[in-house]
């Protein structure tokens, strides 16, 4: 009886964790795969995998990076399984694609299109830092890079993004 109660509590806690982390995981997956439906599938599949492997999560405080690693692996598997269609961002903008739509905030739609134009090696650490709040050390650990390599990529990501968005980059270092 106690085991059943314990299992029920564990399930509820795990589910609460999934609910809390899901929005950011969905956004992360979306910024890497350009596709809301695919991002949902990847996150759903990742949560099933996480559920099955929950014993390996020793500390709930480490849940976010733990889930993120699972989502990254699941994305990699998805990319391996099928060659995803490439999307021309200019075409999306012309069609006012819903993935870039930002209601009455036209400036955000422009920036979203610019983010997709960044090479993935720059976009991924940028999303991890600005959206998920990862430190340089955490990004380096997740991407298996040195911290200086991460900082270089982040610098280039913002420099390119500012240029793509028409910002004055004359004061940026080269």
């Amino acid at each position: 009886m106690m085991d059943r109660v314990g299992a029920k509590r564990g399930r509820a806690r795990f589910q609460a964790l999934c609910l809390a982390l899901r929005p950011d995981l969905l956004r992360f997956a979306f910024w890497l795969c350009h596709d809301h439906a695919l991002a949902e599938d990847v996150v759903q599949e990742s949560m099933l995998r996480a559920w099955k492997a929950q014993e390996s999560l020793e500390d709930e405080k480490a849940a976010k990076p733990w889930f993120l690693t699972i989502v990254r692996r699941e994305l990699a598997r998805t990319f391996e399984r099928k060659r995803l269609n490439t999307v021309n961002v200019d075409d999306l903008v012309a069609l006012e694609d819903s993935s870039l739509a930002a209601g009455d905030q036209a400036d955000l739609a422009e920036m979203r299109a610019a983010i997709f134009k960044l090479p993935e090696e720059y976009r991924e650490p940028l999303v991890m830092q600005s959206l998920l709040g990862y430190s340089t050390a955490e990004i380096a650990s997740e991407l298996n890079l040195s911290q200086s390599a991460v900082l270089t990529r982040l610098f280039r990501a913002r420099h390119q993004l500012r240029a793509l968005c028409g910002e004055d980059t004359s004061g940026d270092p080269q």
Partner: protein
Amino acid sequence: MMNHEQYRRAMLANPLGTDPEFEAHRASCEDCRAFTDGVLTFEHQLVRALKVSTPISAKILLFGTCSTARPTKGARWLALAASVAIAFVVGAGIWLTPRSSLAADVVAHMADEPTAWKSQAALPAGELNPVLKRANISLDPKAPSVSYANSCEFRGQVVPHLVVQSPRGPVTVMVLTHEAVSKARHFDEQGYRGTILPIPQHGSIAVLMRAPGTTAAEVDAVAAQVRAAIVWGS
């Protein structure tokens, strides 16, 4: 000693960095301070752009099973019944999970917007007005200057999240038209001191400060000023 190029490179790599050498250069160089303001404004926009909306109604099914064998008709009915049961349990779980307190959710939201407190410069009207308009509010011309404005997802609604500059430092204001409270609630959590004020017919507003040593009376005084500055649409 850090030079301009090193500072700007570090700024673009990590705009929220708090390295003392970084801070020292910023304090001593006017050009780099102006550069910093530009980068931080851009960073606010970047965070807003990255926060694409996510479907909140989608279910999380944790107990799915896979089988390669074709199920029998009876098994299919059982599977259908199980799916309905799981959906019900998950739905009920979401529905019945006690909501955390409003104050705790407001404080938790602060962690989602780390750039909000950074800039002290007044936000251009072009960035502020769309956020206010979306919530059908405006600000009295005598209101304190607003240095940050964003339309944030909060408890399933889009709400204005503002930072106004007061003599006691920056003050965060969240306009919660969908959250009615019966009386003012003070809170002191995770380094934030604040209050949630009821606004009859317009829900409530949350006002938070993070200056250490801020008293409840000071929070009340700022909250009263903010409340008076908001003009509610019909």
